[in-house]
């Protein structure tokens, strides 16, 4: 029995994942995905941005250039534009299924929208939009930000 416990302890040390210290994290709450000049442009509420030919390429660039470890597991909101609505399937590989997705019309600054979205954002998680083909709520800037139909 002791032999198996020692073996188990040794196996624990051989685990591949070493973890990331919390101090190195850049936790993202709001993610904006746009298309500019045919390229995907991602901006986060942590002030980081990146571009790429595909969503994956843009995400890789974002991870490689950020001054820390971009942490998308905390992303609660993803803002898409009309041009980037088609990347929702690809988005599943980067954010949690429960992340709420909205489309945005107008100049959106993720750093400033976090508080508004927390207070007023409808509950439209990514997995439900894809599974039930639900309409994505539209966020509009008309003087102030508001959701279409509200």
């Amino acid at each position: 029995m002791k032999k198996w416990i020692r073996l188990g302890a040794l196996l624990l040390l051989l685990l591949p994942q070493r973890g990331t210290d919390v101090g190195e994290l850049l936790p993202v709450e709001v993610l904006l995905v746009e298309k500019e000049a045919g390229q995907y442009a991602i901006t986060t509420d942590t002030g980081n941005s990146a571009r790429g030919d595909s969503l994956k390429a843009a995400m890789d660039t974002l991870r490689n250039t950020a001054p820390g470890v971009i942490f998308l597991d905390t992303a609660d909101y993803v803002l898409l534009t009309e041009e980037t609505l088609n990347c929702m399937d690809a988005l599943q590989g980067f954010v949690r299924p429960g992340t709420k997705v909205y489309t945005v019309e107008g100049e959106a600054d993720p750093e400033k929208l976090g508080a508004f979205l927390r207070a007023h954002g409808p509950d439209t998680p990514l997995y439900r939009i894809i599974k039930e083909a639900k309409m994505v709520p539209k966020l509009r800037l008309e003087g102030d930000w508001h959701f279409e139909g509200r």
Binding site: L12, L15, Q17, D21, V22, G23, L25, P27, F71
Partner: protein, 474 residues
Amino acid sequence: MYSGEVNHGNITKIFEGAGDFIQRPLRCNGVRLYAYAIDGLTSGGDTSEYVLRPITDNLTGQTARTLYDEALLGNVYNSVADPCKDLDTVARKLVNGFCVILFPGAGAIAFEVKTGEKRGISAPEVENTVKGPKDAFVETVRSNTSLIRRHLRTPELRLWETQVGRRSLTNVTVAYIEGLTDKTLVQRMRRRLEEIDVDGFLAPSAVEEYVTGSRKTAFPLIQYTERADKFCAGLLEGRVGLLVDGLPLGYLAPADLGYLMESPEDWSRDYLSASFLRILRYGALILGLILPGLYIALAVFHQEMIPLPLLRSIIESKKDVPFSTAAEVVSLLLAFELLQESGIHLPQAVGQSVSTIGGIVVGTAAVDAGLVSPAALIAVSIAGVCGFVLPNRDLAEALRLWRLGFALIAAVAGLFGLTAGLIVLVGHLAGLQCLEVPYLAPFHKGQASVLRDRMVTDKFRDSLLRPEDGRKQP
């Protein structure tokens, strides 16, 4: 131990070189007698008044044999007069505060004249209660047995006495209640004591290791208490008690996790308050054990489980800290241990100040200097305070050891490692037993024994102890 005839030459040879050994020749009706005693263990006044004077005044025999018989049968008016059949008994009586009178050719008699110099009975130092009694055990085993007798006046209380330790000859008393305590438990305890073959039986750890079989575990397998009422309550439950001369403690066996989590204060309150506090105590046990490891696991491996505002706050607090979370927590745990140890070894007035000030000042300074983050300090401090909630110090110390282990394993393997560690711990505890009673006995068969029973409805004793009389009240 000592062979040979009981005579003056052999007795003086045993204590040759002992500066406190007193030997005094006497003459009684023309017969030469000898008196022996150990200075410091006996009372000179009592020896003179209740042994020497009666010998010279009351004995009328003309031979050693008749003098011996007269002395043994009451003419020497001492409450205790034990005949010494061999040299071993003479030696043991002398080192236990007896005055031995040798009647050459007839034998020797030991008269009890112990000195009154001993620590008086005082309030418990550690196991304090607001409403409970304030008499705690002292180093003298006879004082302790008298305390037990005062709490338990039943004539069925049995005190089986023996000596353990080839050189220390430590007096050990096994206490139990005839007709209540399972005889098998008593026999096991007696057998364990008889099997002990060591030079000295002086330290509490010697008692704990030798009696319980020195299992490789940090968890206590025997419960100690300095309170006579708690000791007697344990005897009334059907447990076996152990008193060791020289230790101001009483031991109770078997000990399982349920008994170790009970506080004397539980029986000073109503059952609702006591039950609430017990639940709190078990919560503190779990929290104190896993909180540092859980913090490391979440902060290093599972940050997605931390609510975002809290995560941001932790990240913000860790901005200027140069060390990893695991290093922070482990070093804080070790610092905590050092502070506690320093508090124990320093004189009481200084030790308390050092522990308190050290914790506050060093902790605050470390945070201000950016060496540790406030979140890590809080996690370790809460775990430390939870450890202080436990009523048994040995259990709290075992907890500290496992807590450090959990922190290390969480640093390597996150929640997976923590869970594996918990499984190993539960398996380890499940494999422990004391006098063949399982350590996790209170939790077997789904019995919820965390809550304190109402005294009015608590009619039966713990069935796992197999008491001869299982009923506490009709």
